[in-house]
Symmetry: C2
């Protein structure tokens, strides 16, 4: 091969990062691939925009077909975002026998299996390392590095925005709204932060991770989602007092052949490896039957870090081209999907109750738990400012989600209980 030509779809933050990484590390790429890599065309929304990199405007186009149908382009790098339109573009590219590297988690979480199967039929590679946890090579680690093991649990801090917000709230005692504004000003949160703070972005990544880690097609709809918008400073203070750190955790657990996948604010024991992952960093904790505990840590977003994942995927495609083995590395899922029922999902739980401060209330509260098979790891009662009211803070031992939901319902029915709030999963340490 004289050179390899890449077509870019999108030239925003990540796209500019890809251009920089290819330019700055051309020697290293050449050394590995044996020929130069050049960007031949890039689809943009506006040609004459000021960009973070110098690109020859003659390679820019507003017409997707200039990229998708160019017979000289070997590989399409998709960093434009969006779902439906992008899917159509990639289908067109794959039908033209072009390999695809994408950073698009929204797309892969929904149409991943369909696109992968189309790519495979067309002997094309479709790589998407950058779609989860930016610069951390977590997908390869699951698929290749831990190829021999049976992964039973993954826990991910896979959204940088929410980790930044929770870290600041914890360390500086500030409110959610206050920190969100700062994150927006710093570019760590988008103008519309709903997908981040609501947990949808993390859920997309967990669908991709659990599909690969469990070798089972997990859909986005299978992921239970709860965001961080209701996390309060008081919750974080209690967490600290109890030796926990609050994180938005994507949780994927397999027992026998049944799985659960969720994204929810979670109290981690301070000794858990994920508890010291701060600011906008991401990390994925992976538990394998044979290997035990592992963790993969790094930047979860940003133009350059994400671009390294994209360009490393490019190197993978190009090495396969040299060997003539494209389209053969994806392994189809081994198992049919079996989701756990609520009575099979076990966790420790944290919750806060506002109650009448009178004789027998704690007894009636605790009897709701014991009746439903749940016992306590920690109990704390504090008087509230409002007279004759008290707050009870509880952490349970392992209980099934079904029982815990029943407990919440019964607590809400107790006359002496005014408010049931701040219910969080608790992870790490011994049961």
């Amino acid at each position: 091969m004289e050179s390899i030509s890449v077509g870019l779809l999108g030239l925003g933050t990540v796209g500019c990062g890809v251009v920089k990484v290819i330019e700055n590390h051309q020697d290293k790429l050449m050394h590995q691939i044996g020929c130069p890599v050049k960007i031949k065309k890039a689809l943009v929304q506006e040609v004459n925009k000021v960009r973070d990199v110098d690109v020859d405007t003659s390679i820019l186009t507003l017409n997707p077909e200039d990229v998708l149908l160019d017979p000289e382009i070997d590989i399409i790098v998709e960093v434009m975002g969006d779902i439906e339109k992008t899917k159509e573009y990639l289908i067109q590219a794959i039908r033209q026998k072009k390999h695809v590297v994408t950073a698009n988690k929204d797309l892969m979480a929904v149409y991943g299996p369909e696109l992968l199967s189309l790519a495979s039929e067309n002997q094309c590679d479709l790589f998407y390392e950058a779609s989860v946890a930016g610069g951390i090579p977590i997908l390869r680690s699951l698929v290749d590095g831990l190829a021999s093991d049976r992964i039973t649990k993954m826990m991910g801090i896979v959204n940088g925005t929410t980790n930044f917000i929770l870290t600041k709230m914890t360390k500086e005692g500030r409110s959610f709204d206050d920190v969100l504004s700062e994150a927006q000003a710093l570019g760590y949160a988008e103008a519309d932060p709903t997908a981040d703070v609501g947990g949808l972005d993390a859920a997309r990544k967990m669908a991709i991770l659990s599909t690969l880690g469990f070798s089972m097609n997990i859909d986005l709809d299978d992921v239970k989602i709860k965001g961080i918008t209701e996390v309060t400073g008081e919750d974080l203070q209690y967490a600290k007092q109890f030796g926990y750190t609050m994180k938005l955790i994507g949780y994927a657990h397999r027992e026998d052949d049944r799985v659960e996948v969720s994204v929810e604010p979670t109290l981690l024991e301070d000794s858990h490896p994920l508890a010291s992952v701060h600011d906008e960093y991401n990390a994925v904790y992976v538990y394998g039957e044979a290997v035990g505990e592992t963790m993969f840590y790094g930047p979860g977003a940003g133009g350059l870090p994400t671009a390294t994942a994209v360009v490393s995927d490019l190197v993978g495609v190009m090495k396969n081209m040299r060997l003539g083995v494209n389209g053969k590395s994806a392994v189809s899922p081994q198992f049919s999907k079996l989701l756990k029922e609520n009575e099979e999902i076990y966790s420790k739980y944290f919750l806060r109750l506002h109650v009448e401060d009178e004789v027998g209330v704690l007894a009636s509260v605790t009897s709701v738990f014991s009746r439903n098979g749940a016992s306590f790891k920690k109990v704390l009662q504090n008087p509230l400012q409002e007279q004759k009211k008290a707050e009870i803070v509880l952490v349970t031992h392992q209980a099934s989600l079904k029982n815990f939901e029943k407990i919440l319902m019964e607590l809400r029915d107790l006359e002496a209980v005014h408010l049931v709030k701040s219910t969080y999963r608790v992870e790490g340490g011994n049961a």
Copy 2:
């Protein structure tokens, strides 16, 4: 392929782990490779020994040629240790066109380049993920996951024994000797712990890591080595007081095209990701120009964790067999080796001095530093029990190793300085 036959050299802790992982995860392996994997022969030192796994004794042999020359064996898994003899075995295996997976860091640190080049000539794969940091897929992450980036720094906690010892000494205030005995009793340290506590084991791993990460043949002899045998409880107390955590750090740094590689007890700022890697766990921190900070964490030793790395390598070999592309994945080093001189190696340093407690001593001490271009980040003076003696504890800002060594020499020449001790590198945080 009907099935793939593996020959084992060695059936100790890791060998038994390999047998277990292959047996327990046969379905997953079959799904990925498309045919069963079986262990056909295993070289052992004793046939009738009680082992951790059930193996048919008919596959055991005392004769290496039964394994190395068996024409039906496709892949040799070497988990016997030793250097010279093992090298000969592997050369013999590769000449028979057998692929090799090894967990042997001692061998690879010394003969890696030679064996890799022989394997490549013979169209054979030679994989050695398990040789560094047990179950953590760090070599793949360097070679594939970060293929596009330029790695400038690696810091590794790559020896579980010393990390266990330092963790216990720090948390429980116990002495080196005391904790070493416990580690030996628990099986975390060998009867002869020299290679671990002296830093040689970590140095071997750093030679392998820096060869791959910097794409430059780094020999074991290029690694400066200092072990942990002289670390005292007092050092750890000062470390804590200053906000540092003591770890045995393998340090590999590239600036422009020159590198330094060392293994030495290092004081890490508490906020450094490696500072919270405790007990027998390993972690490798990797800094790439584009990706920034990443870290890979997991079990650094143990039969099953190490076996997952071995068997994941086996899967890699078998996938290559299926595609007919063995012996093509190793990339020869891109750069010639250029080691930094001592005047090019910069670090912060910690040290302790015992001095006469009299007028002008601190001034004469500090003038030694200023004369050699070093300033202080922290200074602490305490009276010693011995009358009219004091201890001065210093942390410098960045200074060259050459200057620091000159400083140490000049300090030793000062009449008022009785003892210069506990000189450690300091890493993390701002200069």
